[in-house]
């Protein structure tokens, strides 16, 4: 699924990145528990989370995850933006709940990791 499709489906905003809206990802993983994210072998995925702090970006950095989607209009801090830019991580944000977000993405063909 292309970033441009995700943005359209979720009426999402691109907070960081967005130079390559045709970038395509196959899998989605939704969690607020970063240790759980750090157990994943799959890398080519979008992390969907409501946990919005520096550790979310650091976790993505360590786990080689290149796209993070924050749900419920979470406010992304300047520090987080800086970290994301430094590590080439794209940040998206949408107003929907985690439940609705993953439901819409799944319905439109984004694959789960497990």
């Amino acid at each position: 699924m292309k970033i441009t499709d995700i943005v359209k489906i979720l009426d999402a905003q691109v907070i960081v990145g967005g130079e390559d809206m045709n970038y395509s990802i196959n899998h989605g993983f939704a969690s607020d528990l970063m240790s759980d994210v750090l157990t994943l072998e799959e890398e080519h995925l979008i992390l969907i989370t409501g946990l919005c702090n520096n550790q979310t970006i650091r976790t993505a950095e360590m786990a080689n995850i290149s796209v993070i989607l924050f749900v419920r209009n979470k406010q992304v801090s300047e520090d987080m933006i800086e970290l994301a830019l430094e590590n080439d991580i794209m940040i998206l944000s949408c107003k929907y709940s985690m439940f609705k977000t993953v439901g819409l993405l799944y319905e439109n063909g984004l694959e789960p990791v497990y």
């Binding site: 607020d32 528990l33 970063m34 240790s35 759980d36 750090l38 157990t39 890398e43 946990l51 702090n53 520096n54 550790q55 979310t56 650091r58 976790t59 950095e61 360590m62 786990a63 080689n64 520090d79 590590n87």
Partner: protein, 138 residues
């Protein structure tokens, strides 16, 4: 190559900084991406542990052509029951740690899964030393 990083108690804003530096170094050395991920995930979990549970400490990194050895030495309080701490789901984490997305009792098991050698020495009231080794060619 030898490097050291200081870890400050409760400094969550900088948790991951040492792991990030290690990742950059390993990338420059063209180490296999999967190996890099294993190392930095383990070090990151340990870094978060040192910041969350200990009174600060130091991370010592020794790197040669065959392996990376990371020693995280903290200033206490020590782990009273190592066997329990290694159990998936066992945690003594504070609410603050949980707010950061950790504290579910997955840290030490995650570390164990990602390294080739793990040695934990701990003494209550003194501190904990976690030594982890990842071989590049295994």
């Amino acid at each position: 190559m030898h490097t050291e990083f200081t870890v400050v108690e409760g400094d969550f804003a900088n948790a991951g900084k040492a792991s990030s530096e290690i990742k950059k170094t390993l990338k420059q050395l063209n180490i296999d991406n999967q190996k890099i991920k294993k190392i930095v995930v383990a070090v990151y979990e340990a870094e978060v542990n040192a910041i969350a549970h200990a009174y600060g400490g130091t991370i010592f990194v020794d790197l040669d052509e065959e392996k990376i050895c990371v020693l995280i030495k903290d200033k206490g309080p020590g782990i009273p029951d190592i066997a329990r701490a290694m159990e998936k789901g066992f945690s003594t984490a504070s609410a603050k740690v949980r707010e950061m997305g950790f504290g579910a009792g997955m840290g030490l098991p995650n570390i164990k899964n990602n390294v080739d050698e793990l040695d934990i020495q701990t003494e209550v009231g003194v501190g904990t030393e976690i030594k982890m080794i990842v071989n590049f060619n295994s």
